[in-house]
């Protein structure tokens, strides 16, 4: 937890990720190639953090030499990771912007199903907030304008009647098999 003088830099965010309530990765970006370069290390890190944070909604923690700010919503967990020397409030600004933007985009339904239905929008939001570790935008209103994404009003619209019937058939089949 020592802090030497921070080299002035725009590279604020080391990683950002969204996990579900079992700790599975839904989206994650690592911006520092030296930090957990392999997928295995990344997932380990995520599991570790999830285990330490999912029980208590504490907003901020310090793990494996990293400052982590986080937030949960229904069955989702949002994390922003920065170095130990990083200004915690800057990380918080990123987390808040991410959450607010998604909340607006998903019309306040920040939960796993809606998020996954609009995954393309989620990728775009993250891309507009952070670029390679640099905070690109911190105002949710701006982010939404830039992404200009319309969430599906009715996720069923694409599914044709035939498909609905098909899935109903499947369900019946399963209930019989049981």
């Amino acid at each position: 937890m020592d802090s030497a003088a921070v080299e002035p830099s725009l590279y604020t965010v080391k990683a950002v990720f969204i996990l579900d309530n079992d700790g599975n990765r839904l989206l994650s970006k690592y911006y520092d190639p030296e930090l957990y370069p392999s997928m295995k290390e990344q997932k380990n890190f995520e599991t570790n953090i999830f285990n330490k944070t999912h029980k208590a909604d504490n907003e901020i923690s310090f793990l494996e030499g990293m400052t982590i700010v986080y937030k949960s919503s229904i069955d989702l967990f949002f994390y922003v990771v920065g170095s130990a020397q990083e200004n915690e409030l800057m990380l918080m600004a990123v987390l808040n912007c991410l959450f607010e933007s998604l909340s607006q985009m998903l019309r306040k339904n920040v939960e796993k199903r809606t998020l996954l239905d609009n995954m393309d929008g989620v990728f775009l939001v993250v891309d507009e907030i952070i670029d390679g570790g640099v905070i690109l935008e911190s105002d949710p209103q701006q982010v939404i304008e830039k992404v200009n994404y319309r969430a599906d009003d009715n996720p069923l619209s694409e599914q044709s009647v035939a498909q609905v019937l098909q899935s109903a058939k499947e369900q019946i089949k399963w209930s019989i098999l049981k």
């Binding site: 937890m1 020592d2 802090s3 030497a4 003088a5 921070v6 080299e7 002035p8 830099s9 725009l10 990765r25 989206l27 970006k29 997928m39 990344q42 997932k43 330490k52 208590a56 504490n58 907003e59 901020i60 923690s61 310090f62 793990l63 494996e64 030499g65 700010v69 200004n87 915690e88 409030l89 800057m90 918080m92 600004a93 796993k112 199903r113 996954l116 995954m119 393309d120 929008g121 990728f123 775009l124 891309d127 670029d131 390679g132 640099v134 905070i135 690109l136 935008e137 911190s138 701006q142 830039k146 992404v147 200009n148 694409e158 498909q163 098909q166 899935s167 499947e170 369900q171 399963w174």
Partner: protein
């Protein structure tokens, strides 16, 4: 396709993740519809999302399949669906490293970046820069310059950030955009300001003057972005640190003014910058501490955390500055965020009074199991600091530590606890038995070899001297039965120490040792056999030499000497005395758990310092016949700090000679010195044999010259001498700019300060872990005793420090620490005199008006005893 998902979804029963059972091959198969006309944006979008999702999950794409998908994707640029286009940019960025020929999209991206659709332009720039290399960058340079000064903020920001990413790759190209970045910095948009500032700093950071100018400009014009302010504070504090600027500098004023900014983020950054400044006075800290105090009662957890973490740092250096916040910190110790509570408590432990310790410890033990290892280490460090401050509290601490030791935890955490317990044991003799008992219990179930061996070593050292040594034997022998090789070997060594010191235990130890001789590991067997034979002799002197006080030579030195010996076979047996001694005995120095990582570095370097000198000197032909280097002194300054030439001297002692190494630096940029040497005039019968000059001494490049001196042979007691030194050299004036010297020069000289050689230069520190045994080992053949009155000294502490620094010997048995409120003290010192003679000093000190000192000296050589006594008197 969607059908397939739904089915799988239901089968898995999780029901909510449409991406759960994606298969790469199936998705790539689907990607074929990219080629259908007309393009179906919705379906294509869905497939692109799946591809990105798979990449994000860590799915590996082969080059061929990635390239195939990538090329199919490029067709989608024909569609005008906004989201689809944006997802294409994302795919390009994600695949930039795995697909081949990604540059094929360059023209499409360049078109989007300069097109009319503002929504596309920013993301297109970022995608384009991701796939661009240095050569291609030149081609798009014109567009980048335009984009940086574009009036649309997202375009400008994207261009600035992308340029920043490319600084690493093509600094020279990006450097040419500095004017554009400068223009962007005056934009109204806060993010553009921030990004421009960041880029400008990265381009100019090696030019301190330019950075200072830039900072001046922006502090005056007043930026709006809080992020930019944070960046400026960091730049300012870095400048302050580099220039060692005083706290009256305008930079400091700027940082302090930021404490009144309306953004909490900026206020916190400024406070944190002030707190981290080296040598900050209490008055300068006060405003920073008071804003942090305000933050302590914020409803935002992150702000409370940030504040208390920073206060914790302040408390390490300036506990008194934080006492004003004690009340606010008290409120945080029940904070639901355990990290905040832990930090608050550890801060209070540093600033609070002795009476609050029990209460705080109780509080923290209620939730210590909930916090992460990192914070547990913080707690242990706080306890360790506390034990030094309030030694009387050690029983509370010891209990707490032993509980922590039983909990689960990683290596770092356990090591911190063990170090802390060991330092408590060393500081408080009365806590020794409980401490050792806790450690014994710990090694019964310890998975860390390093810790187990460390504890065994400690048991061997301390155990035999406790009232009931027998109770430790069981714990130690258990290790021999149960553990890995390294631990077993350490356990055997520990056992031997019990046998050597306690006669009544010896028979049992010998029985156990016999069992160890059957061990499957070579090292363990060797040690057991060796100790067995030594112990059976039942001679105190042997025990002392081979069991308690091990080798004190430097390991690299021994390796080199042995190698040398094997290269030149001779009839003579190998002589241990030719091996250089270890310079800094690392153990038994106070095991302070240093909170600052930087302080650990010099410690690691120290032991090899002498080996470096040995090598340097051996490379000079004149000095080859002198034998091994015995001791090198710390550098002595022979000039004032700010003079034309800076000279310092290092004294190297050999068996019959001394070499004086003069490290000279020429601080005049219009002079070149040649044939530099330091002429020495001894006051005693020392004889200067040889000078080795430094051939050339250009401006600000240090060089060394040497003088070789023979010590008087007929009078071995003449150990101190004063040399008057004069530096002689040939000066050649030169051009300050080019460094080109004139053709001819003139001789000149420069008088240096006198150089003293004292008794300490002839004695090498050696640590005897068991002083009593070593004392008996040398015996009283050459013992002499004398009493002195030290009239000028007022306290025992002062007397002890004076003696240690005067004789340059190693204090043993922690006798350099005088207990408080005592009127008498015994100091044990050990060392080796030049030529390899062991010398031990016992000084009994009594405090009356002044300090009376009775010195007893023992050595293997009679002359040495005389030397020491003569020099003390």
């Amino acid at each position: 396709m969607i059908k397939k998902f739904d089915k799988k979804d239901e089968e898995s029963g999780s029901g909510s993740n449409p991406f759960q059972h994606l298969e790469k091959s199936a998705v790539l198969q689907e990607a074929r519809i990219f080629n259908e006309t007309p393009i179906n944006p919705r379906r294509c979008l869905h497939i692109l999302t799946k591809i990105i999702y798979l990449l994000n999950q860590g799915e590996h794409f082969g080059t061929t399949e990635a390239t195939e998908a990538f090329f199919a994707m490029t067709r989608l640029f024909q569609s005008n669906d906004q989201t689809l286009r944006r997802m294409c940019y994302l795919t390009i960025k994600e695949m930039a490293n795995i697909s081949e020929d990604v540059i094929i999209v360059t023209s499409s991206l360049t078109k989007d970046m300069t097109g009319k659709e503002d929504v596309y332009r920013g993301p297109a720039i970022r995608a384009l820069c991701r796939i661009t290399d240095t050569t291609m960058l030149q081609a798009i340079e014109r567009y980048m310059k335009q984009a940086i000064v574009d009036k649309v903020p997202s375009v400008s920001s994207s261009a600035l950030v992308s340029s920043l990413h490319m600084v690493k790759m093509s600094f020279d190209v990006v450097k040419r955009w500095v004017n554009e970045a400068q223009e962007a910095a005056s934009s109204d948009n806060i993010m553009v300001q921030y990004h421009a500032l960041g880029l400008l700093y990265h381009l100019r950071k090696n030019d301190r003057l330019a950075v200072t100018k830039m900072l001046n400009k922006f502090t005056k014009s007043g930026l709006k972005s809080p992020f930019a302010y944070c960046m400026m504070i960091r730049i300012a504090s870095k400048l302050l640190e580099e220039t060692e600027g005083g706290h009256d500098s305008p930079l400091f004023d700027f940082i302090e003014s930021c404490l009144r900014n309306k953004h909490e983020m900026v206020v916190y950054e400024a406070a944190s910058a002030i707190v981290h400044m080296p040598n900050c006075t209490a008055r300068e800290l006060a405003p920073a501490v008071s804003v942090l105090q305000l933050f302590c009662s914020s409803p935002k957890a992150a702000l409370r955390y940030a504040a208390v973490r920073t206060l914790n740092k302040v408390a390490m250096k300036h506990p008194s500055a934080v006492t004003a916040c004690n009340l606010d910190l008290e409120n945080l110790i029940t904070d639901s965020n355990r990290s905040i509570a832990t930090l608050a408590i550890t801060t209070l432990l540093k600033t609070g009074s002795e009476s609050s310790v029990d209460r705080l410890m109780k509080q923290i033990s209620s939730f210590v199991s909930e916090i992460s290892d990192e914070f547990k280490v913080v707690v242990v460090q706080a306890i360790s600091a506390l034990c030094q401050k309030y030694p009387r509290k050690h029983s509370v601490m010891m209990n707490f530590l032993s509980n922590m030791l039983r909990d689960d935890g990683g290596f770092e955490y356990k090591r911190a606890i063990v170090d802390c317990i060991i330092s408590i044991i060393e500081e408080n003799p009365e806590s020794k038995e409980t401490g050792l008992a806790h450690l014994c219990e710990f090694i019964e179930d310890c998975e860390h070899t390093v810790l187990a061996t460390k504890i065994l070593h400690l048991l061997g050292k301390e155990g035999p001297r406790t009232p009931t040594p027998s109770k430790y034997i069981r714990f130690i022998f258990n290790r021999v039965v149960l553990e890995s090789e390294a631990v077993r070997a350490a356990a055997v060594s520990a056992l031997a120490k019990f046998g050597a010191q306690n006669d009544d235990l010896l028979p049992s130890v010998l029985v156990l040792m016999k069992r160890c001789m059957m061990d499957s590991d070579d090292e363990v067997r060797d040690r057991a056999t060796f100790y067995m034979n030594v112990l059976q002799q039942k001679q105190k002197a042997l025990n002392a030499a081979y069991i308690f006080n091990g080798l004190s030579v430097s390991v690299p030195g021994l390796e080199k000497s042995l190698h040398q010996y094997t290269l030149e076979p001779s009839e003579k047996p190998f002589d241990m005395k030719t091996v250089p001694l270890a310079t800094a005995p690392i153990t038994e120095q106070k095991t302070e758990i240093a909170p600052v990582a930087t302080s650990k570095l010099p410690e690691k370097l120290a032991p090899c310092r002498q080996d470096i000198y040995q090598e340097q000197l051996a490379a000079i032909p004149e000095f080859q016949a002198l034998g091994p280097l015995f001791k090198s002194s710390e550098p002595v300054q022979l000039t004032e700090a700010e003079t034309e030439y800076v000279v310092r001297c290092i004294k190297h002692a050999f068996t019959n000679h001394m070499i004086f190494q003069f490290d000279c630096t020429n601080t005049l940029n219009d002079q070149l010195l040649q044939r530099v040497l330091v002429q020495m005039e001894p006051s005693e019968a020392y004889e200067v044999l040889n000078y080795v000059p430094a051939p050339s001494l250009p401006y600000s490049q240090p060089g060394s010259c040497y003088s070789l001196v023979r010590l008087p042979e007929d009078d071995p007691t003449a150990v101190s001498c004063t040399f008057s030194c004069t530096m002689k050299y040939l000066v050649r004036d030169c051009d300050p700019n080019t460094g080109e010297p004139d053709d001819d020069g003139y001789d000149d000289e420069y008088v240096l300060e006198d150089l003293e050689v004292t008794v300490a230069d002839h004695i090498q520190k050696v640590l005897k872990p068991n002083f009593g045994a070593a004392w008996d080992e040398i015996g009283d053949d050459n013992e002499k005793e004398e009493t002195f009155a030290l009239a000028t000294v007022r306290t025992l502490d002062e007397a002890v420090n004076n003696i240690i620094s005067f004789l340059g010997m190693q204090p043993c048995e922690r006798s350099d620490k005088v207990p408080e409120n005592k009127n008498s003290h015994v100091l044990f010192l050990a060392g080796v005199f030049r030529g390899g003679h062991d010398v031990l000093v016992r000084a009994r000190l009594a405090l009356a008006d002044g300090v009376t000192m009775q010195v007893t000296v023992r050595s293997t050589d009679e002359n040495v005893v005389d030397v020491i006594l003569a020099s003390v008197g």
